[in-house]
């Protein structure tokens, strides 16, 4: 898709918002942010039925002058409205993180050093890593103590039978797809926070927003926050 087509797509999306009764509020906020060199944090909350809406590439929003996110005028957060209360995240001063960096041989290589560095520079973290990024090794680590606070995945995800799956490494070095249910089984009641740094991991599929990986974990009550990325992404 060309840059012009992406811009047109973003303008169409913005127009759909602007033409409603809330358009004035959005325009005012953007105007104010531009004047003060501030930023609008646009929080989009979707109910369980809003699969298509949640799947829209809101990141492309374009107000005819410029792409709002790329220009830094707007930042975007997607939320899923879920009736269960948020479980509090109680931790001791050091967060213990398990970082799984999966770079299967049949997928484009992950920049492992960059992925490691992204957490190594964060203060107050104890970072553990698996020697092999396999699902079995993840299960084995979760059976041991000390207890982990955070599961952090860096790698690829893909679509399989219309469901998002994370690509762990298999015994043969190629990708081993792990779906939301398997992830739920592994992580339920084990960690308080899950970070999925993988393309497509937050992309909505199926008929409910809970059918993709990150939302399925929210439904399982595993974590307080998740980060996924729609579309192909680098670790930048």
């Amino acid at each position: 898709m060309s840059r012009d087509e992406l811009s047109a797509f973003g303008r169409q999306l913005y127009r759909a918002l602007e033409e409603t009764r809330v358009g004035e509020a959005i325009r005012d906020a953007i105007r104010k942010a531009r004047r003060s060199r501030g930023q609008v944090i646009l929080q989009l909350r979707f109910d369980e039925q809003s699969v298509e809406l949640a799947s829209l590439p809101w990141e492309l929003l374009h107000d005819k002058r410029r792409p709002l996110l790329a220009a830094g005028v707007v930042d975007l957060v997607r939320y899923i409205v879920y009736p269960e209360p948020v479980v509090s995240l109680e931790v001791t001063p050091l967060l213990r993180v398990l970082q799984v960096i999966a770079s299967p041989a049949d997928k484009p290589p992950i920049d492992v050093e960059k992925a490691r560095a992204s957490l190594d520079k964060v203060p107050n973290l104890v970072v553990e890593r698996l020697s092999r990024a396999t699902y079995d090794d993840l299960l084995k680590r979760l059976e041991r103590k000390p207890r982990l606070h955070v599961f952090h995945f860096d790698g690829h995800s893909t679509l399989q039978d219309e469901q998002n799956v994370l690509c762990f490494e298999g015994e043969d070095g190629n990708s081993d797809p792990v779906d939301a249910e398997a992830l739920h089984v592994a992580l339920y009641n084990q960690v308080s926070l899950v970070v999925l740094n993988a393309c497509l991991s937050s992309q909505m599929t199926g008929t409910s927003v809970f059918s993709s990986l990150a939302p399925a974990l929210i439904e399982a009550g595993i974590s307080n926050s998740h980060f996924g990325m729609d579309g192909p992404q680098s670790l930048d």
Partner: protein, 53 residues
């Protein structure tokens, strides 16, 4: 990254039923606004375009 004081938070909530989508904005300056929202693209066009992206 702007300072916290320069951040403006806008929260839009989407509620979808079989025949319509309601978008809700609840901001002190504007009150509790609820308005129908029309997705900008037909399903088939949307999926094709998303695939292209």
């Amino acid at each position: 990254m702007p300072a916290t004081d320069d951040l403006i938070f806008i929260e839009l909530e989407f509620q979808q039923s079989a025949d319509k989508i309601i978008m809700r904005l609840n901001e002190p300056s504007y009150g509790d606004l609820r308005t129908p929202f029309a997705p900008p693209f037909p399903d088939d066009v949307l999926s094709t375009r998303l695939e292209a992206i």
